[in-house]
């Protein structure tokens, strides 16, 4: 199949996306930004799944991606709700100041 994009390109792009997401999740202080970074990482994983699914002509990978999207949407809803609740309590969503989870 000429003109198709080789699998390695997809993987490199996914790895880049994942690294950016991970770096963002670890370094950002704003809760929403961390959220966005996590979405990036999830979608990097989705990209790999779809790429391999296409390569091997196997539909399961694409099916899993729909599950991931659904779960990610639910997670986003719960996460945002949590952050709203936290914001109402603490007037901030700076995770550096949300340090109650300690001994």
């Amino acid at each position: 199949m000429s003109g198709t994009v080789p699998i390695s390109w997809y993987l490199v792009l996914a790895a880049l996306l994942f690294a950016i997401g991970a770096a963002g999740a670890l370094t950002r202080r704003n809760g929403i930004s961390i959220f966005l970074s996590i979405e990036l990482m999830l979608n990097a994983a989705n990209l790999t799944l779809v790429a391999y699914s296409r390569l091997w002509g196997e539909r399961t990978g694409q099916l899993v991606v729909f599950f991931v999207l659904a779960v990610a949407a639910a997670e986003a809803a719960v996460g945002l709700a949590l952050f709203i609740a936290i914001y109402r309590q603490r007037r901030t969503i700076d995770v550096n100041r949300l340090n109650l989870m300690r001994w």
Binding site: L26, T27, L98, N99, L100, M101, W103
Partner: protein, 657 residues
Amino acid sequence: MHLLWLIPLLPILGTAMLGAIGALGAIGRRPPKALVTLIGLGAPGLSLALALACLARYAAIYPRPYEQTLYAWTAGPLHLDVAFLLDPLSAVMLFVVTFVGFLIHVYSVGYMGHEEGYRRYFAYLNLFMGAMLLLILGANYLVTFVGWEGVGLCSYLLIGFYYDQDFPPYAGKKAFIVNRVGDFAFLVGMFALVARYGTLRYLDVFPRLAADPGPALAPYALGLTFAGFVALCFFVGAMGKSAQIPLYVWLPDAMAGPTPVSALIHAATMVTAGVYMVARSNAIYQLAPGVSGFVAAIGALTAIFAATIGLAQNDIKKVLAYSTVSQLGYMFLAAGLGAYTASIFHLMTHAFFKALLFLGSGSVIHAMGGEQDMRRMGGLKRALPVTYWTFVVGALAIAGIPPLAGFFSKDAILAAAAGGGQWLLYLVGLVTAGLTAFYMFRAVFLTFHGEFRGSDDERHHLHESPPVMTLPLVVLAAGAVAAGWLGIPAVLSFGARLDRFDRFLEPTLWTIAGHPRAVHEMGAGTELGLIALSVAVAVAGILLARRLYDRPSDGLTGPQEDAAIAARFPGLYRTLANKYYVDELYDRAIVRPLARLSGFLWKWIDGFVVDGSVNGSASLADLLGGFGSLTTTGNVRNYALYFFLGVLGLFWWIALS
């Protein structure tokens, strides 16, 4: 006779029942006193009845021993049974213990009637009877040892009966701890026997020793032969239980218990357990002449040592206590000389007259409202006639005046010493006999003669004890008179053989192959002369006491006479009154260093090393946890980083494998 096992069991059941009815307290009712009396007297009473029945049946198979095996105690190579043995020796002990024991139980009903802890008292006393009967009926050393420890426990409990005072619990602990020393040696002796013979059964060990004494005479330990080593171990055990030098110190303090307890445990039965054990082990002692000599020497030394202390005591029970130590010394003197029957004979007569004397002193103390100091008594014979006359009978018996019991048994021991050519031991025994007569009659005169020296309140309180107390006195007095007639020496029998006691016990003496028992024959003239001499010494002791303490003409009361003597021999008198300072010596030499060592172990070993290592390990965990908790910052991004690193690590690990 197949009910033999019930004899020790019944008093133990009595204890259990007395304990069980204490549960009535849970519903707010006190157990009725009559019920306590019924159980407390019924159990030893039934025991006595059964014992008499068994003894009557035993007469049919005499002199064969009767052994009753209940069940096998141990499985495996060491075979031990829970078994009882009735032979002439345990028959004598069985009779003495159940008979005298029952009388003392009866007496206790009167003596302890007004005391707190009536039920507790009888529970302990019944348990004591059970343990003592276990001791004498045991068919092997281990059953005997269980009884041996049981009587020690009851002794401890009963000495410390008045636990709300300071001294009795202390005296109880002292008795228990001193006895541990002896018990340790007893155990070592048993271990040696087990190691060599693989059994502790009397009818196994002794016949084998008797048939083939060779191996027992081989060198073993401490420079002794095997028989010598075991004999020494058992004798050290007997030293503790039977209050011999150097382990006698607990017995005088044991007088802190109720007086009937002193009569039963610390005069008639428990303290004679050591003598019984030595006589029981005569096969071993016959093979250990050196240790036997040691036994005789310790016995003689104890006899005269305690007798001299008895001269200067003012507490009526202390006089009797030292007298008991002294008479026990007599018994060991006999046992050491190989006159085992004489020692058991003296054990039996002593049980009668010393129990009588203790119960008599109890009656006096009862009348005096608890006062035990003879200096505050005097002239009691008018108020307590029955007590007085029975006490005099007991004193005459222990002094060795014919034809009372003590004369015959003491004479048998002195004859054994003289017959064996042990003139030094004989002399010690003779002097002790004189001292005994003196201090006993000093006690009689100080207590019963002269004028009353107590307060007016006490004078009005004086009364003869109730019949429940005087009746045992009278019965025991009859025993103190007649018990000796069982063993009239040949020279006084006028041709008839009246030394029944010796011949009755003869079957329990083992004849060792190749070691014939020495038979000492003395000329009849010599023997009669020695008898006359010992009687003369006893009479002299009594007359001297009478001259000093019962002489109204010189206007001095008994205590003033004592003071006069003390003024003439100040050093000697003080030494005797302070019991040769042995307690002080032990305190300095043993108790205090031990207390210091314990203090060191407590403060440094326990406080520093043990507690320190426990606390230290806790501190270490705390410290490590402190480091660990530094990672728990509460910052979500740190946690995310750990998670991320963890996932990386996991991948790394998977990639590697």
